[in-house]
Subunit: 424 residues, 2 copies
């Protein structure tokens, strides 16, 4: 890891800036796949599945039998763990449902706002080295709480066309009925445009590699909503003298093992934690199966020694991390000063991995500095909020003068006429 | 207007499909302006202002004196109207602030979510034929309620470099301190990248022409957030026998006068309303100063006679209008069946223009069918929600097994290690 000792503020730029992703190299390729799937539907999907996943499937929709068989294969211990995580996620996200309240803005003008589920949503779960069934909980549970009518799931098939049992178990647990063995850009395209087999949806959720990310960006321009812009996963730890170097090092590693482009940063006021963490990293990394990935990721990471916690907070807010652990004595008070972060982990016994799986908060969070303006995923992401207003004849009269004066000043006479005609 | 009598469902496509905007023709031009402003800052802004607004300014920031002078020029009646509207908007939007609640997901696991204002936001108000000071209220009031630290406003200067007094009054009323005389793509670029004079912001709000819309789309790809994708404004009216043809016609006209690409649709079960509305339109349009715009907009509009209200509701949900007036006896019950709309106006005395200005709801709403997956603007749009979790050593123990089982099943050993290390 790169180290900084008491950097001046003008040196922060190097720390807070993310590597710039340039999608132009892959854009043409991604656009072609989108167009082909739009045009040829299932046939194009089958072609790309054969090419990229190297498997030919008779049917892309997972059958009830496959689901049942998959569920039987999941060990009971893992089932119980997933159930426990699901319960916690459900408990936390239920609180995000909002009542519809009627607000009387003036005597006689009633206004309200109501959460209404997005009717059709598509979830994407990447394949690759890890079967991310936890992400199914994070996407599927808020979708169910929101009340989305149609929730579909796409995920790439394994080498033999099979699905990971835990993926099927998690999908079943959250009530997803339609699962398709389709991955990559072709999955995003199929959900955006619809095919003979895969229904078109209004909004697409879920992580993916740079091709999937670019596909989501492009379909967003075409009028399909996406959860949020994506970038590599990140952790930032703010630590004072009370922090334990081995905890800090293991939290950095839990981020670093995600991928070679993951970002891990430690900001500390303690020389002991600074040095101790560097030493612990060397030891702890040895035991990891994903050691090489983690090593490469740590090469892009930083350990920063700062003068005091005020400066640390300021640097955190500039960086706007996806995950922030505050491993400080006074973590609650410090958390109040954080304005830019996706999710915050308070104290020495709240590791990021607990939020990744089971505390109840959502693990789909803004990366790449997007925590400055985007929220993590929640029930909000699966609804839109419709507003309502109701006036009677008499009530409209109370506000008529205001509307007419403003409409005329804006040069919009028909707006004024629409009020006047009701009293002529 | 084009008329349909009892169309079959397969004929709905023509009604619900919006004209496709193709930005490719202007994309190159817009991209060039973005790049130049990014590179050359204020100098590029001045150049484009001279070219497009045909005015050369000594200073682009509106001075305190200009604001004071402008406010003095606004007639008292208009001031009072704007104040009344602002009060109603404030009253309605205040209810959108959410408390932070701690949720105990398991004995000992505390989670919460808190609204935190986006620090820096930019508001854009177009110039052109109408000074849209009402939009300043709609953007500025939720920004103030959210607590955004820096709120800036860009709007194009008039021919002599002046600003419309009502714009200055409205901006002052909602507490906006920094107003810049910059319009078009150069304004969006300046707020996205920052110049010597105009601060960089994290999220940009506000309506605009196709160039501004395309600029917002492009800066979104570069990592700056925008309020929502935009399209021409729309109204849909669902009317039964209880509706008054002259009211319906005047509401369609209030939409049609916005621009030649505005969409106005009437769906009715009543032959009387169907025919009456067509007749009234011919009469009412005669009196309008913006008659030619309204006429051209109505050419793209539809009057649709449907068999019953069930079918009407279904067609409305397919169309997903920005504004929906339910001019029906049973409007409340029918409103419950609407799942896709931006804002709903209930009954015969709730014209759209009352929501455009003064009922209290926000008039920045999803167009172009985006009501299927996007909400209108609200306090939510000016905040992000940060999540928190806190566990103690003992509490972490309760969930350790769950986290470790899931992490290992996903092949992420460092995630499991981050929990284990805390108990070794």
């Amino acid at each position: 890891m790169k180290t900084f000792r008491y950097p001046e503020e003008h040196e922060w730029k190097e720390i807070v800036e993310r590597p710039l992703a340039d999608p132009s190299a892959i854009q043409k390729k991604v656009r072609k796949i989108l167009e082909k799937v739009k045009e040829k539907g299932d046939r194009a999907v089958a072609k790309y599945t054969a090419r990229f996943d190297e498997v030919e499937l008779d049917s892309i929709q997972v059958t009830d039998e496959e689901i049942k068989e998959g569920i039987d294969l999941v060990p009971d211990e893992l089932k119980n763990a997933i159930r426990q995580a699901a319960t916690n996620i459900e408990t936390f996200h239920r609180f995000q449902l909002q009542q519809t309240d009627w607000v009387v803005t003036m005597p006689g003008i009633m206004c309200s706002r109501k959460m209404v589920p997005i009717e059709k949503v598509g979830l994407y779960i990447p394949g690759g080295s890890a079967p991310l069934f936890s992400t199914i909980l994070m996407l599927g549970i808020p979708a169910r709480i929101a009340g989305c009518r149609e929730v579909i799931l796409c995920t790439p098939p394994g080498a033999g066309g099979e699905m990971h049992p835990a993926i099927l178990f998690a999908a079943d647990l959250v009530g997803i009925k339609k699962i398709f063995k389709v991955g990559g850009v072709q999955a995003i395209a199929a959900m955006a445009f619809g095919t003979e087999t895969i229904p078109r949806v209004y909004k697409i959720f879920g992580p993916g590699n740079q091709y999937v990310t670019e596909a989501k960006q492009l379909i967003q321009e075409m009028g399909i909503a996406i959860d949020m812009p994506a970038g590599p996963s990140e952790i930032c730890i703010l630590a004072d003298e009370s922090a334990e170097p081995s905890f800090v090092a293991s939290d950095l590693l839990s981020q670093a093992e995600h991928g070679v482009d993951s970002q891990a940063i430690l900001i500390t006021t303690s020389e002991r934690v600074f040095q101790g963490c560097l030493n612990e990293l060397k030891e702890l990394i040895k035991e990891l199966p994903r050691k090489e990935i983690a090593e490469r990721a740590l090469d892009n990471g930083y350990v920063v020694l700062v003068k005091n916690l005020e400066e640390g907070i300021k640097l955190v807010n500039e960086y706007a991390p996806e995950h922030l652990i505050i491993a400080c004595e006074d973590c609650d008070r410090l958390a109040d000063k954080i304005v830019n972060a996706g999710s915050i982990f308070l104290g020495n016994y709240s590791p990021e991995s607990v939020g990744d799986y089971a505390s109840g908060t959502n693990h789909t969070l803004p990366t790449n500095g997007f925590a400055k303006m985007y929220s993590g995923l929640s029930v909000d992401s699966f609804v839109k909020k419709i507003t309502y207003q109701k006036l009677s004849r008499e009530w409209l009269k109370n506000i008529a003068g205001t509307v007419i004066a403003m409409a005329e000043a804006e040069g919009l006479q028909a707006h004024a006429q629409a009020v006047r005609v009701r009293f002529s």
